[in-house]
């Protein structure tokens, strides 16, 4: 595999160092897609992680209504979400105002009040209900 080293971004067309077997089709300003910038050593190639790829992709000149990875997410549902008890999984009508945990019966309520805070936050993260502020 002929690896090309390009220090800067695509625009600056520096002459690439061709590997042992030069491949004629490779463009002068070719940047190996899997390798982040200068880290183009053949041995320890590091592939871009998803975050980097996403950032790169976001920078592309998208038209407003082009479908792409970023706007094909399903829109929010019109139906109300169901409320389960955090303890038993049964439908819950009540929420403990202190811990914000949901519960079905009075026994569960007693149990909730005995829980330490880290378990409470654990239960809340299960349904992504932890508030960022507290």
């Amino acid at each position: 595999m002929g690896d090309s080293k390009v220090q800067s971004a695509e625009g600056a067309a520096t002459q690439p160092e061709t590997a042992a077997k030069p491949l004629p089709f490779k463009q002068a300003n070719f940047l190996h897609s899997g390798i982040g910038g200068a880290a183009a050593g053949k041995k320890n190639r590091t592939w871009k992680n998803l975050k980097q790829i996403l950032a790169l992709e976001r920078a592309l000149p998208w038209q407003l209504n082009d479908p792409s990875y970023f706007n094909i997410d399903a829109p929010p549902s019109c139906k109300p979400s169901k409320k389960y008890s955090d303890i038993s999984g049964l439908p819950a009508n009540y929420t403990d105002p202190q811990s914000k945990l949901r519960f079905t019966t009075i026994e569960e309520f007693n149990y909730i009040r005995m829980l330490p805070t880290d378990v409470v936050t654990g239960y809340l993260t299960l349904r992504k209900a932890t508030s960022i502020v507290s």
Partner: protein, 396 residues
């Protein structure tokens, strides 16, 4: 010249020659707790004697191929002499990629297929295109179909009209089998037994006991009952990997409804978890993912399409991907879509016999097409023109 069809999923790779049979193989590497230093690739997992606390190394992240080192090791194994003995000089490959795959990933894929493995020709497609091809092949009179591809990382809803995908109708729901397994793992860990490290075991539990409720609230009422009236409740015997190699559901006659169950085997008692977990596919908002469920998204997608096409889509809803195997999935999708559509449209939901390999079979059919030669990019083409020719030819 042989053609290798590879539906390269995030959890399993569906691979086989177009003239042969398909194999479903885990597309990842494993480390086990007992043999710490050894890495097991793909279906070498069968050699693991004690698969408790099995650790997964996945090439995919959120459904996109990012860890090429792992992927190449899996492919080396699959293409190599243990498995498919690919003669790269004489083989073309059909390989699948997720919808709207990122261009940098596509380019890496080209390079690895043509330069590292030196395939003679390659066709990169979306799995949905293969499924649609299979569907139109079986039902030549239909014009449109909508593929619901519910896999490991996410669920895509993709409308196809005469084998061309309608980009404006594509919807992604960020709920897949992985999320279901993880959620089940978490709620079991909170409610009864710590199983956070046992992804492999819990995945088996999910496949064995979970189902989609036809009437969620009715099943929830049943799940509230105590003792023998509770027909939803099952006892799942966990494997200990010495005497019990694989977990199983305890027969109802042997269940102990009051008091402590007999010692010696570890039991998970599952009630509402059985259907509340797959319910996430239908109501992601239950666990705080603010997105539509599958039936709602199908209807939303179809409503984005030209009105004349809509009735054709409603009667050709095809379910593919591993989650479609959940019992009751098809009936639930049907009844909910039916409720959301005007009565003068026919609704029909099709569940193929094997939703996991459905798109692989489509790939097999495509390779037998007369114009297959025109669809692929050959290695000469690529060496002459580079990525541009792939970008032009492949509809990703």
């Amino acid at each position: 010249m042989a053609t290798l069809v590879l539906d390269n999923g995030a959890y399993t790779a569906k691979i086989g020659y177009s003239h042969g049979e398909v194999s479903v193989i885990p597309n990842c590497q494993f480390r086990s707790k007992t043999a710490r230093l050894k890495t097991f690739t793909a279906n070498q997992i069968d050699e693991v004697k004690d698969p408790s606390g099995l650790f997964y190394i996945l090439p995919f992240q959120k459904g996109y191929l990012v860890n090429w080192d792992v992927q190449r090791q899996v492919w080396d194994y699959l293409f190599g002499k243990e498995m498919f003995q690919v003669d790269f000089g004489e083989t073309s490959v059909i390989i699948t990629e997720p919808y709207f795959n990122f261009s940098s990933i596509q380019e890496s894929m080209n390079e690895i297929l043509f330069e590292e493995y030196q395939f003679q020709a390659a066709l990169r497609v979306n799995p949905g295109a293969l499924s649609a091809h299979r569907y139109f092949h079986d039902n030549p009179s239909e014009l449109c179909c909508i593929i619901v591809d519910t896999g490991y990382s996410f669920t895509h809803i993709v409308p196809y009209c005469r084998s061309k995908k309608k980009q404006e109708g594509i919807i992604r729901i960020n709920v897949g089998g992985k999320l279901l397994t993880n959620h089940l793992k978490e709620i079991i860990s909170y409610r009864q037994l710590h199983v956070m490290d046992e992804t492999h075991v819990i995945n088996q539990v999910k496949e064995d006991v979970c189902y989609v409720a036809a009437d969620f609230y009715k099943d929830m009422e049943t799940a509230k009952l105590k003792g023998e009236d509770n027909s939803v409740m099952v006892d799942y015997v966990l494997p200990d990997f010495s005497t019990i190699k694989k977990g199983y559901i305890k027969p109802r006659e042997e269940m102990v409804f009051s008091g402590k169950p007999t010692a010696g085997e570890q039991i998970l008692r599952l009630t509402n978890e059985r259907f509340a977990v797959p319910e996430i596919l239908f109501h992601p908002s239950d666990i705080g993912i603010q997105e539509m469920g599958i039936p709602e998204a199908i209807v939303h997608s179809i409503n984005n399409l030209p009105e004349e096409m809509q009735p054709h889509f409603y009667k050709n809803i095809v379910l593919t991907g591993g989650n479609a195997l959940l019992p009751g999935f098809k009936d639930r999708v049907y009844s909910e879509v039916r409720k959301l559509t005007p009565t003068d449209y026919d609704v029909s939901v099709i569940l193929p016999k094997n939703p996991i390999t459905y798109s692989w079979e489509g790939g097999k059919l495509i390779s037998e097409n007369d114009d297959f030669e025109d669809m692929v990019v050959t290695r000469e083409d690529y060496e002459e023109n580079g990525h541009v020719v792939c970008e032009e030819k492949f509809d990703i």
